[in-house]
């Protein structure tokens, strides 16, 4: 559709001027907008394009990604190519590392466990605080890594059943056709078919991402199969599942101190960051509908929460004991 060149040039000029924090002549700008709806449309198109460009650049500058993530030495080689590098390096992530971690953590397991009886088998709970991760060994070669602010409930004497009460956990399951491994999340059931998969259960919303093997969701009902490189999600209070693609190396990457967001609602970003860092992040109301993209290392953000601003193109302000995210 053709756009009037004069309007375009004016819109461009206003976009440049109004986006500077020092701009004060809002009255003249308002009058210009009132002259024609086409003015506002041209202005929006320009501002949105500039912001999209800035967001892409912010994402491309990775940012604080100066240290290689665990088990991916290739990543340190340079910016720009990091995604391709991780794609290659993930295949080489040595499983041993997980197990080594698991051994260490299972010794410390005794702390932080609650024990109670309901109707049925004795259940115990393992929990992590925000900013903490912990790996448990569930017999044999099956491990689960808990992200921050996560609670898992298990039944005594049954290592093949786990309930994810809240938070995020990465499961690496040794498949046993005679004893399928099951994860309960709210009313959902996930059954492994030889698998490494990541489950996120926060504020009623569910996400299941698979990097190896396969997971069957609700084997008694929908029987949705989630395959490697796929992510299944269900929004809070919704019945509909959505299946989308995810780069397999991204599944459980938080385990290696890394988070990637692709068009992620700011609310999810804040909640993931809070759990990962132990620092409270909130979203300012005017940024609620906003989505961001970018790849982050968790540790540098823990040290300097304000660095998020540059990384994701956001304004980061002190709010009580935590930080709030919003437009610049």
């Amino acid at each position: 559709m053709p756009i009037d060149e004069t309007i375009r040039a004016q819109a461009l000029d206003w976009a440049v001027r109004t986006q500077d924090p020092g701009f004060e002549d809002w009255e003249t700008f308002t009058s210009w907008l009132e002259q024609s709806p086409a003015h506002g449309e041209a202005y929006d198109a320009t501002c949105a394009a500039a912001q999209d460009g800035a967001d892409l650049l912010a994402r491309d500058t990775p940012a604080n990604d100066t240290e290689p993530a665990i088990a991916s030495p290739d990543e340190a080689e340079g910016n720009g190519a990091w995604v391709d590098d991780t794609l290659k390096s993930y295949a080489r992530v040595p499983r041993r590392r997980w197990l080594a971690g698991a051994l260490a953590a299972s010794v410390a397991l005794v702390a932080g466990i609650g024990l109670w009886h309901e109707n049925g088998p004795a259940t115990y709970e393992v929990a992590t605080a925000a900013g903490e991760t912990r790996t448990l060994r569930l017999g044999g070669e099956t491990t689960v890594t808990l992200g921050g602010d996560t609670r898992l409930a298990m039944e005594q004497g049954n290592a093949r059943f786990v309930r994810l009460e809240q938070g995020q956990a990465l499961f690496s399951v040794r498949h046993d056709p005679d004893a399928p491994f099951e994860v309960a999340v709210g009313e959902e059931r996930l059954r492994d078919i030889g698998t490494v998969f990541d489950v996120r259960h926060v504020d009623g919303a569910l996400r299941v991402a698979v990097s190896e093997g396969e997971v069957e969701v609700n084997p008694e009902h929908e029987k949705v199969r989630v395959k490697p490189g796929q992510i299944l999600s269900r929004a809070a209070g919704e019945n509909r599942f959505e299946l989308a693609a995810i780069a397999p190396e991204r599944v459980g990457e938080w385990r290696a101190g890394r988070l990637t967001f692709v068009d992620a609602p700011l609310g999810d970003v804040a909640s993931d960051l809070t759990r990962a860092t132990g620092i409270a992040f909130s979203v300012r109301p005017e940024a609620r509908g906003r989505t961001v993209s970018g790849a982050l290392q968790i540790e540098p953000i823990r040290k300097d929460p304000q660095s998020l601003g540059t990384l994701l193109g956001l304004g980061v302000a002190r709010e009580g004991a935590g930080w709030s995210l919003g437009p610049r």
């Binding site: 440049v16 509908g289 002190r318």
Partner: protein, 176 residues
């Protein structure tokens, strides 16, 4: 909201200039949502914890303005998703309605393309754009840092914005 006592200059300015802000939001195309958006501006102002603002009315306008830009951007994204979906429905066979894993890699390449495009406008234009829009440096400080006049900074930004607008219009994401 009659019980609210203005506890800061910003809140006082908000209450005093409600109508001005509403007029601005309507001129900005907010239509019936103007009151709701104004309420979001209020929430932002009343929960703000950082120090005083030098020019409260200008600040309030710029908060309202960012809200409108964000709104526009999310509407655009929703439309793009819809288009993608229907395109995927029509193109039977290879096309998949789900974003592929490649798409993520693609976003990074897209970033490289934008960077190259800005660079092609001159290294200074790219630097000015990045300083101002990514690092959040004010135009005055960009001028000082780069050692050019304020109007040159504005000119550089106009060039960059125009190029980005072209890029959006001609379909970002289209493979050449």
């Amino acid at each position: 909201m009659s019980e609210i006592t203005p506890s800061s200059g910003l809140e006082a300015a908000f209450l005093a200039h409600r109508e001005t802000l509403l007029r601005f939001l309507r001129a900005r195309g907010a239509g019936e949502a103007a009151e709701d958006i104004l309420h979001e501006v209020w929430l932002r102002v009343s929960t703000r914890e950082s120090g005083p603002v030098a020019a409260p009315l200008a600040y309030l306008h710029s908060v309202a303005n960012s809200l409108m830009i964000d709104r526009y951007r999310s509407q655009q994204k929703a439309q793009a998703r819809e288009r993608e979906w229907s395109a995927a429905q029509t193109l039977t066979g290879e096309a998949s309605p789900q974003p592929s894993a490649e798409r993520e890699v693609f976003a990074v390449r897209e970033a490289a393309r934008v960077l190259a495009m800005l660079d092609s406008l001159g290294a200074r234009v790219a630097r000015v754009f990045r300083l101002h829009r990514v690092d959040g440096v004010t135009q005055k400080d960009v001028a000082r840092e780069v050692g050019i006049s304020l109007s040159t900074v504005e000119g550089d930004l106009r060039k960059a914005y125009r190029a980005l607008e072209e890029w959006k219009r001609h379909g970002e994401g289209d493979e050449p």
